[in-house]
């Protein structure tokens, strides 16, 4: 396996020089696009995501899949740019993995937003993945939260997401495996990992997705680290929102 996990146990540093509980550089901006109702740009390491929100707007005729009349529907469109990966690849709109992510994001926000305030309407989230280097679903969720805040749609709390993994691949029954926080693409290829999204600073898990095999005993540690990471993410997102808010209050730059 290309990832040299042996060096990890010596220096306790990962390939990119982080410690086990360190997030990558997480930066974000909101209100990046004037024509959208809400927009955000978020970087988690080299994963870069743009989110724009339009709505709540009138429900598109018959097109909306969920026919709930007393609530707003949340529609999510994800487009993965052809240049986002290492090799140029075009993905069709029917890619099941992408559609699954869209369903997940839509369902997470459907319960988190006060959709009952906007009957007969649709909130459309349009997400663009510009560069992908691991933690894609987490980045998409975080960007969506920020854009929805920018759009001024009332929500219960931030949905903050990050990934957590475990050193040493699933085949070995290594009991001393350490949990890792916020994996990059290379680590995601080699190690078991999960994506977790929590509601605000609480321990309530809104999204939990794991696609790799792992011993059940490791799960608790990974989940704990993930939930903890989400709290760190929340701090960063909150800072972004507050900074923007204070700038509006000062009236310096809208």
């Amino acid at each position: 396996m290309p990832l040299d996990t042996s060096s990890y146990s010596l220096a306790l540093l990962r390939l990119d020089g982080r410690r086990w509980n360190e997030l990558r550089r997480l930066t974000a901006q909101i209100s990046t696009q004037a024509s959208a109702d809400g927009s955000s740009y978020l970087e988690m390491g080299n994963t870069k995501v743009i989110c724009t929100v339009s709505g709540p707007s009138e429900q598109k005729a018959a097109g909306s899949d969920r026919g709930e009349r007393d609530k707003a529907g949340v529609r999510v469109e994800i487009s993965v740019a052809g240049f986002s990966g290492v090799e140029r690849k075009r993905r069709g709109r029917n890619d099941k993995r992408i559609n699954e992510m869209a369903t997940t994001i839509s369902s997470a926000f459907q319960t988190n937003l006060f959709t009952n305030l906007f009957p007969h309407s649709t909130i459309t989230l349009s997400l663009h993945l510009l560069s992908s280097d691991g933690s894609v679903l987490a980045a998409l969720l975080n960007a969506s939260t920020l854009a929805l805040i920018d759009a001024g749609i009332p929500m219960k709390d931030y949905i903050c997401a990050c990934t957590a993994g475990s050193t040493s691949s699933y085949s070995s029954n290594d009991e001393s495996a350490d949990p890792l926080l916020d994996l990059n693409a290379q680590e995601e290829l080699e190690l078991p990992f999960l994506t977790v999204a929590t509601l605000g600073g609480s321990d309530s898990v809104s999204v939990l997705v794991m696609e790799t095999k792992v011993q059940v005993g490791r799960l608790e540690g990974m989940l704990a680290v993930g939930v903890d990471g989400c709290k760190q993410v929340r701090e960063v997102l909150d800072e972004v929102v507050r900074e923007r808010g204070s700038r509006i209050l000062e009236g310096t730059k809208l």
Binding site: L199, E211, T212
Partner: protein, 303 residues
Amino acid sequence: MPRETAPSLNEKLFFQKALEENLRIDGRAFDQFRALELEFGDEYGVADVRLGKTRIHTHISAQVTAPLPEKPFDGLFTLTTELSPMASPAFEVSRPTPTELLLSRLLEKTIRRSQALDTESLCLLAGQKVWAVRADVHVLSHDGNLVDAASIAVIAALQHFRRPDVSVEGESVVVFGLEEREPVPLSMLHFPLCVTFSFYDLGGGAGEEEGEMRVLIDATSSEEMLRDGGCTVGMNRHGEVCQIAKLGGVPVDAVVLLNCIAVAGQKVREISDFVKGRLESDRKKRDKGGWMEELRAENDRVS
């Protein structure tokens, strides 16, 4: 587009009231599966699973093809799911619904991505000829919990399936008919199954305090329509979690989730034992003939 009729307000309130009193509409315990039935067809690799009123038919087939150029040593394994209008009027033939998307993705992740089927063992001639195993999942009747039932059906059918024996000499591959040589079973690395939990938030909704949570297993389709969130755990009997999918929905405390995973492990062991028992009795049924008796040793090793 025909839509599933949503439960009426009365049904909804009745159901919630019952949950508050720790009752389910059909009288089951919260962590109880419906009656599980598993039957095998006359052919190898045909399994029919009934879980209450949900019924799923799975058919495994295999043929020799060329491997993918990027993976010359691996056989192919494809899972296709089909939700026909027969299962529920809400399904249309050419239109994938979110239900279908999730069903196929979850099966894919639980069974294919976790390498339940040893695809390397399906290779005949590197880069030229491999077995392509195909699992067709047909939902005959939909009354909730498709994922769990489908995972049982696929895993049971894969274990039941026998592929024709082959001999490889140099570059030539000879496939023997079922009469010529005893067909061989597929090599499976582990047997993952899914358990789906449904979450119901009984909290006042507007109140700040954490609402009371009810967790159900094996929800019927009306229970599924009323749930606030779901979580599917794919595990094998050795306590390895193959996938977790809590795709949005109501937020659930992390401790509750860990609890669910523990429960899932226990359920998976129970169902695995059940499947094993059924496979055993099916084998005995087929074993009646005298000449089959001689092949017993081989079969024992298999199951």
